[in-house]
Symmetry: C2
Subunit: 455 residues, 2 copies
């Protein structure tokens, strides 16, 4: 497994996990308590995710009083739901109070409504207001990702004033990478990265060293656009503004790293026909249910393919070699189409494929299908000819192969572009549409030609 080749960077390796499980069995609570005290909260979250539900609850019971609050937002949704009921309301409130607003929101939005209401009521008034506000923003928007702690300074200040303010103020966030300069209406007019501020003398004016025209996120901007922004301009933090342009929060790069990984997870899952969140951690029956829909759609398309085959019942009855050969063309079409589709879907997600170059990419994919089509047509034609001692049959399958690979390239590029035009997520629907088309076309072209020329 992974851990065999893992470097020293990996704290939570399988030896350590095995040790935890065995010490749990030995009821060696001191070992567990000491370990969690040493572990980073994110590693503790991973440990809890890896254990089975029984062991997990055992660990939570043992470390309950010192449960690291930062571990809560680091856990996957099903695991978090599994353990959250172990804590009393007052305890949960105490832990949440230590977190940033974005993390509190993450934890609260997965709780059942009754629990959420109880917890919210017991949080400090100020937090209550911020979190209720955060929960009104779209799940996919900057409002949910931002934290409401940030460092804003009047644009008229100099470095000396900033340094004195930072040294004395208690309302400075734990971590920040830039100072946001605001005007009298609290509108951000510039940013000063700390590595610039650190190098300037006390009398230097903020207005003289700030980046005017900073990248500013609006509270309704979408997750994927924010991921793009940080990746493209190598940002470490960005100010978030409300509809009137006033500074109301900050997004930091660590949250965006999560976003980018999650977006990649989602796209990969969707292409593989998996839509359930936290699929790995769901119980078997829930997983089966969440994967059921996609398989049901696939069953319908498979039956459609069978119906299309049934039209050629007579030909199949007369020539059994057709039944033996017919999956080859369909399978190659599906695979060639998937190659094109994968590139197109991923390139759209990373904004490399847009309306500006879609026509060129589309033309190219048809050409790619033709190049490989010619080659594989020759190959399968010769193999079939030799196998069945029938060179007309060989020519027929060759032609079907060429045709299906060109169509696979065409549809592999066209389907995601069309879906996206109609604002449908290309990753979720494209695969099933594509393979339905390449299957049916693969069967029909081959069987129809054979029916016409051989029967």
């Amino acid at each position: 497994m992974k851990n065999k080749i893992s470097s020293s960077l990996i704290v939570l390796n399988s030896d350590l996990i095995a040790k935890v499980i065995s010490e749990l069995g030995n009821e060696n609570f001191t070992f567990i308590i000491n370990l969690i005290e040493e572990l980073h909260p994110a590693d503790t979250a991973d440990l809890l995710e890896t254990l089975n539900s029984e062991d997990r609850k055992k660990v939570v019971k043992i470390i309950k009083r010192n449960f690291p609050s930062q571990t809560l937002p680091s856990m996957n949704v099903p695991i978090l739901l599994d353990i959250i009921e172990e804590f009393e309301i007052s305890h949960l409130v105490r832990m949440l109070s230590e977190l940033d607003t974005d993390d509190i929101t993450y934890v609260l939005e997965i709780c059942e409504e009754a629990l959420r209401k109880k917890v919210l009521k017991n949080l400090p008034k100020e937090s209550q207001k911020l979190i209720k506000k955060a929960l009104t923003y779209d799940e996919d928007s900057a409002g949910r990702i931002m934290q409401t702690d940030y460092v804003s300074i009047p644009v008229s200040w100099n470095i000396g004033q900033v340094v004195d303010y930072l040294r004395m103020s208690k309302r400075v966030p734990d971590e920040f990478y830039a100072l946001f300069a605001v005007d009298s209406r609290h509108i951000p007019v510039g940013t000063v990265p700390l590595y610039i501020a650190m190098r300037k003398k006390r009398e230097v004016k903020i207005a003289d060293i700030m980046t005017t025209n900073p990248k500013i996120v609006s509270v309704n901007d979408k997750r994927e656009d924010i991921g793009f922004l940080f990746d493209q301009y190598e940002l470490t933090s960005a100010p978030v503004v409300d509809a009137r342009g006033r500074l109301i929060g900050m997004i930091t790069v660590d949250d965006v790293v999560d976003l980018i990984r999650q977006k990649a997870d989602e796209d990969m899952y969707k292409l593989g026909g998996v839509t359930g969140e936290g699929d790995l951690y769901l119980a078997a029956f829930k997983t089966a249910r969440s994967r059921f829909g996609w398989l049901a759609i696939n069953l319908i398309t498979a039956i459609l393919a069978s119906i299309s085959i049934a039209f050629f019942e007579t030909a199949l009855d007369k020539l059994v070699s057709l039944a033996i050969l017919m999956p080859i063309v369909a399978s190659m079409g599906g695979n060639a189409g998937t190659q094109t589709l994968t590139v197109a879907v991923r390139a759209m997600a990373t904004r490399e494929l847009t309306s500006s170059n879609s026509l060129r990419v589309f033309g190219k994919e048809i050409l790619v299908g033709a190049y490989n089509g010619i080659f594989f047509a020759l190959l399968i034609g010769i193999v079939t000819g030799l196998w069945f001692k029938d060179y007309l049959l060989g020519s027929i399958i060759a032609f079907a192969m060429l045709f299906n690979l060109i169509l696979a390239g065409t549809f592999g590029a066209a389907i995601p572009l069309i879906l996206s035009y109609f604002k449908i997520d290309p990753a979720v629907a494209a695969t099933v549409i594509l393979t339905t088309i390449t299957d049916i076309l693969g069967f029909v072209i081959f069987l129809a030609l054979a029916n016409y020329l051989l029967i």
Copy 2:
């Protein structure tokens, strides 16, 4: 397309690209020059990537004298190769001199050897040494990603000394997020994030505020481990040390964001049977060639499936309904197996699936296969019974479906785990192995049962 729903965060939208193309046609060079001056170097890179080769070279010619050096490392490999020959050696050397070592290395390693040697020879002696050294590190290692500029300070200093040093020194990198405290052997013993340093008075000692036990990267650590490290511990920068533990470089979060995206790209491409780097930007023939290998393997497996069907020639000859129905079971097996496979491969990449929980996940996937298997067996059994008025045939396909879905879950989980045990990348080989198995088993179980019970 994308741009229809893009937010104001996206500078380079399709309207702007259309404008560029039309102004290029009008030979309006001033427009191009002014635009590039305004654009962020990363947006300029995207613009060049989106244009066709002819327009791209036209733009490069127009802006040549003021070509932004930061645009070079932001470009995809095929595009960079396409334009790099437009620059004279001395010009290239001048641009590269403005970049960090990791960026220079990225550009130089894709150049032909002759060009690389010429450029290297003309770089300052100090850079030459650093880059030659960087090129000796494994392509996948920290040595290639790190920059050699960083801020190291003696651990005995206080904040006042650090601030004075930062204000006066000319060897400070453009961007940095932490101070690395080193002992007399230049071994890092702690880090101080700038947001901590900024808040402390001049007389505070570094040793008193630094994070002892910082996360340190070794020069030979692998890309994916570094991605995990930054993601897990929400780092913005990390010191890199040589084999003797001495500080030699720094990795920053912006490089890691690239790493994480690239790793996701690669995994998704591999699962989709695409291995060529920069597939979207390659010419059609090169793309066809790079995708050819995977299709060739698929052709072999498709022929193997056909051979397995041929064993049941007599049965197919007698009962044409078998030919009509047989793709259904194979197709459902392939899809159910792909769901399991996708979750397993992705979870291994993100270290959520390890040897510690593999047995549990394996058992669960068999159960998931059984749950959905029972349901879809009933469904297809009834459909087939009604369609062909043959309930024994319905029972046979139902049994084949149940069996194949259980096996699909089993192999979908087992294949990536086994591949990884033998240190083979699960993303690259798993799909083809899985679909070969589910295809052949799907055909054989159904046809063998029918042969035994119906013929």
